[in-house]
Symmetry: C2
Subunit: 208 residues, 2 copies
């Protein structure tokens, strides 16, 4: 299969989410323009993205929701269930911990970690909680592939290093710190302050 451009992968993941919703509400088919309106892209971009999937061609008709979803899932291997863990059980960490939807989406939060025994004992959740000292052992024994970092910024890099040496494959960094990882580890960042700053800058620059 041809290489899929990285931005296209991102969009296909959004399209996949859209298709799940459409399927749940019983919609059978959708056009490239309609998809585009939903994920903020042009119809041409959507068609191009979908073309990378190499779907058997039924030109001229709207995409079948179910079939398209299947092809995206196959190309991006989204059906493969992945185990994730959360490190740092502060406000954001526990908010994500409580997010029930992941299960339906093929992700399982297989563990939570915090420095504080207190928190580990106090938080009520079906997810197994551990001390950070158990991080590497638990990740290996439970086959966890993705780490969600929710620790304070000053501990973020150290946490990332531990995750990497435990063999983690991907990291979602929700701390305000910028972290570095080897190239083979997939990294995405969610930093509210940076996002607000980007929005602010774009508001200013739009006025030119």
């Amino acid at each position: 299969m041809a290489k899929i451009p990285l931005p296209a992968v991102d969009r296909l993941c959004s399209i996949y989410g859209l298709l799940e919703k459409l399927e749940a509400q019983g919609t059978k088919a959708i056009s490239s323009g309609e998809i585009g309106r939903n994920i903020n892209a042009t119809n041409a971009t959507v068609r191009k993205d979908i073309s990378y999937l190499g779907m058997p061609s039924v030109s001229g008709r709207d995409y079948e929701v179910k079939k398209l979803k299947g092809h995206i899932s196959k190309a991006l291997q989204l059906s493969k269930p992945r185990r994730a863990c959360i490190i740092g059980l502060g406000r954001i960490g526990t908010a994500i911990l409580a997010y029930e939807k992941f299960k339906n989406e093929g992700f399982e939060i297989a563990a939570g970690f915090d420095l504080s025994i207190n928190k580990i004992e106090r938080i009520v959740t079906p997810v197994s909680l551990f001390q950070i000292s158990d991080l590497e052992a638990v990740i290996r024994s439970r086959g966890i592939e993705i780490g969600i970092i929710c620790v304070p910024p000053e501990a973020a890099q150290n946490t990332a290093d531990k995750l990497v040496s435990a063999g983690i494959k991907g990291i979602l960094n929700c701390s305000a710190a910028v972290i570095s990882v080897p190239e083979k580890v997939i990294l995405r960042n969610i930093d509210y302050t940076t996002y607000l700053r980007v929005i602010s800058a774009n508001i200013s620059l739009l006025k030119r």
Copy 2:
């Protein structure tokens, strides 16, 4: 001033965050390579990004932290304080509400909104809380420019529409729904499930 490419704007916002930390810890100067290592970019990219600022040239020497920070701030108008509001006071909404750091970064959470009077009365915060029905009036009267959407996905588009008609300039969408806004409104999305999916897809695709 020349147009700054959009990805460069994003990176400059990250660089700005880095410079704040460096300044706080007393670091005086830094090289493009070192900046790059921190924000995951190459040294050439960092220099190019900085070149868009049109800083008076002091070629051959590391960037002065303070000066560079000032120029980014000026070019992107980051020193302009912006008021934001949070709509939806569930777990994520209250977590952001409690995030004290925004103040130092030039953002003020000037209001919080929820459907439930109960929540509005129960939550302890210095931020003024209102019912959603007051959304438009409060946004206008308090000069709020950015809306942070934390409502359940099925209410997200409706919330966005209200924000837009109240004259909002930017939206940070933290709900799982994809929303549409007019082109002149800046929109960024934080959806944990989509992020996890993107990471998962990239893990699969990396193995080729």
